[in-house]
């Protein structure tokens, strides 16, 4: 056999000759036993190999292996599981939506006035938002500022949603034509005292703007549905309002498969009932007679809070924690995992939907704490990465909570303990608050 090449020498040093064909490996070993020249080259290559390993070792990070159980739980919580039946229903629903949209278009062709709301506004003013694809801190800040600067509009643009599957915008438009579109511009002045608690969400959405402003803005909707078809049928009210004619601050949006948290205080969606009558039971709040039945979540609340990253050493006192609420393996995406959008008994400032087109990207809830600081509660569907959010402001604590129905991100300039307490109140079974 001729001399061994350097590749084979490295394979020998790496113990990789076993991966060579047996005869070839055997020949190399035998040659190295008898060839002094090749043995010398082998020692040279050994030094090269060790030198390279030393260089690479200089850039070896310290690795701590995170818990496998937590990783497994994360995967279980984030892997959508659908039974064959539900897949079929989902597909049928999708197909039916398309047929419904086409059929409505056919019926309405040539009769554009059918879509004109009774208030005289054009329906095309309820248009998809020209918004960024994801949440941006600037939007939240802007929302906070708007609320702070305009106390009269503190309750403005309140939106209540229930169930995760909002209808496509087209369906919303159709529904807008079928149900009264309320341009409730006067109610801002008659806004009751600051709203507190989850029940506040049931009060009439209002907005503070002048009569002469053209409507181009927010779609504020009561939704009470659990799938796309049901949403389209039950969308019982679309309220058009605006504070900025250039952009829409919220819209009816939602991926049919992305369940979102419920709002505690949404009145049962019965479009045939007058709005005032529908508001009454929920506005009464404590009576609880209109409360839909909900499953208790008390056992899930912060049972295993894990620090995912601590305050950076730069001195910026921002604390970020990610919390896993136990093993969610039994909570399928179809589960009725109910919790409030708002922290009960904390003044509600604003609720906003975010998203592009028919794709829901969650809601932002702003609430005023007793200290006067603003609490942000951001609800994200499971397919929206909370890391797409911008950093919390310096001095703010952040909690990221993973639920089967999505993510809850809470931010406020308070201690971690205080934020955890608010989280517990948020996740508390609403029926226990009575």
């Amino acid at each position: 056999m001729s001399h061994v090449d350097e590749g084979a020498l490295h394979a020998y040093l790496d113990g990789a000759l076993e991966e060579y064909p047996t005869a070839e490996a055997q020949a190399i070993r035998e040659h190295l036993e008898v060839c002094g020249s090749c043995r010398e080259r082998l020692e040279v290559e050994r030094v090269v190999r060790d030198d390279a390993a030393s260089v690479l070792a200089l850039a070896a990070p310290e690795v701590t292996v995170p818990s496998f159980e937590e990783l497994r739980a994360y995967v279980r919580a984030n892997t959508p599981r659908r039974s064959p039946v539900s897949v079929q229903i989902y597909r049928l629903g999708w197909a039916a939506s398309v047929v419904l949209a086409l059929g409505t278009g056919w019926i309405l062709r040539g009769e554009p006035n059918l879509l004109a709301p009774s208030s005289g506004m054009r329906v095309d003013e309820v248009r998809p938002q020209e918004s960024p694809a994801s949440f941006d801190e600037a939007d939240v800040v802007e929302a906070e500022r708007a609320v702070e600067e305009s106390p009269a509009a503190a309750g403005g643009m309140m939106q209540e949603a229930q169930a995760g599957a909002a209808p496509p915008v087209e369906a919303a438009r159709q529904e807008a034509a079928a149900t009264p579109v309320v341009a409730n511009r006067a109610t801002a002045a008659t806004m009751p005292e600051p709203l507190t608690g989850a029940r506040a969400g049931a009060l009439a959405p209002t907005s503070g703007f002048a009569d002469d402003q053209p409507v181009s803005g927010d779609v504020v909707a009561d939704l009470d549905a659990s799938d796309a078809l049901a949403d389209a049928a039950r969308l019982n009210e679309v309220i058009v309002s605006t504070t900025d004619r250039r952009r829409v601050d919220a819209q009816v949006a939602g991926a049919p498969s992305a369940p979102a948290p419920e709002v505690v205080a949404v009145a049962p969606g019965d479009a045939s009932q007058p709005r005032a009558a529908r508001e009454q039971p929920a506005a009464a709040g404590s009576s609880g007679t209109a409360e839909p039945e909900r499953r208790s979540l008390a056992a899930d609340v912060v049972t295993s809070a894990n620090v995912s990253s601590a305050a950076p050493a730069t001195g910026i006192a921002t604390l970020r924690r990610t919390i896993e609420l136990g093993d969610t393996r039994d909570q399928s995406v179809e589960d009725d995992e109910s919790y409030s959008l708002v922290v009960p008994n904390v003044e509600l400032l604003d609720v906003r939907f975010r998203g592009l087109g028919v794709r829901s990207e969650g809601q932002v809830v702003l609430q005023r704490l007793e200290s006067g600081d603003t609490l942000q509660v951001i609800h994200l569907p499971p397919d929206i990465d909370p890391s797409s959010l911008s950093d919390p402001r310096p001095g703010h604590t952040e909690l990221v909570v993973q639920r089967a129905a999505g993510w809850i991100v809470m931010r406020a300039p308070v201690s971690e303990e205080a934020l955890l307490e608010l989280l517990e109140r948020l996740l508390e079974d609403p029926t226990d608050q009575e």
Binding site: D5, E6, G7, A8, L9, H10, A11, D14, A16, E19, Y20, E24, E45, V48, R49, D51, A52, A53, V55, L56, L58, A59, A60, P61, E62, V63, T64, V65, P66, S67, F68, E70, L71, R72, A73, Y74, V75, N78, T79, N306, V307, S308, S309, A310, A311, P312, A313, R320, T322, I323, E324, D385, P386, S387, S388, L389, D391, V400, Q402, W407
Partner: protein
């Protein structure tokens, strides 16, 4: 054959982080990407999980470099890990020295061809010749030659860099 994912995770995670670290040069990001690779593996349950993990990790690192999207971690990590990170971050001098070391290694690795570098990093992360061959498209018999060349160039480049630093 059923896979013991727990065992695979414990044995492979550090290798995967090391492999990714030499690509993204950010220890925390490397951990995140390694976790993400495992999340995908657990969801897909590939037949050859170790090779699959490194392939996915390489792709993730490539995407990372391509898009350079800033992302924040959201996976749940152990408290201990956060504490370790805090401790290491609390010493700016050692952190700076560490970054300088990493910079030297990165420069040396950048002197290699992409294929040589990939083979070397895979080997250093514990991949076998067969796995490296599958990952890089080389013949098994050519992996040794590739590694020999990569090791020599890496050592030479690093020595040259050190000599420059000493001369200063």
């Amino acid at each position: 054959m059923s896979i013991d994912w727990n065992d695979l995770y414990r044995s492979t995670f550090p290798d995967l982080v090391r492999f990714l670290h030499r690509k993204v040069w950010d220890a925390e990001r490397a951990r995140d990407l390694a976790q993400e690779a495992f999340v995908r593996a657990l969801a897909h349950e590939p037949k050859k999980p170790r090779a699959w993990l490194f392939q996915v990790a390489a792709n993730l690192a490539k995407d990372e470099a391509r898009t350079a999207i800033r992302r924040k971690k959201h996976l749940v990590l152990l408290k201990a890990e956060a504490e370790v990170r805090q401790e290491s971050a609390s010493d700016p001098a050692s952190e700076m020295a560490e970054r300088e070391r990493w910079g030297q290694v990165k420069e040396a690795l950048d002197m290699l061809s992409e294929k040589d570098r990939e083979a070397l990093l895979l080997w250093d992360a514990g991949q076998s010749y067969t796995e490296i061959a599958r990952h890089t498209g080389l013949a098994v018999g050519a992996v040794g030659t590739t590694l020999a060349r990569a090791r020599r160039r890496l050592a030479e480049a690093h020595n040259a860099r050190e000599q420059v630093d000493v001369a200063r």
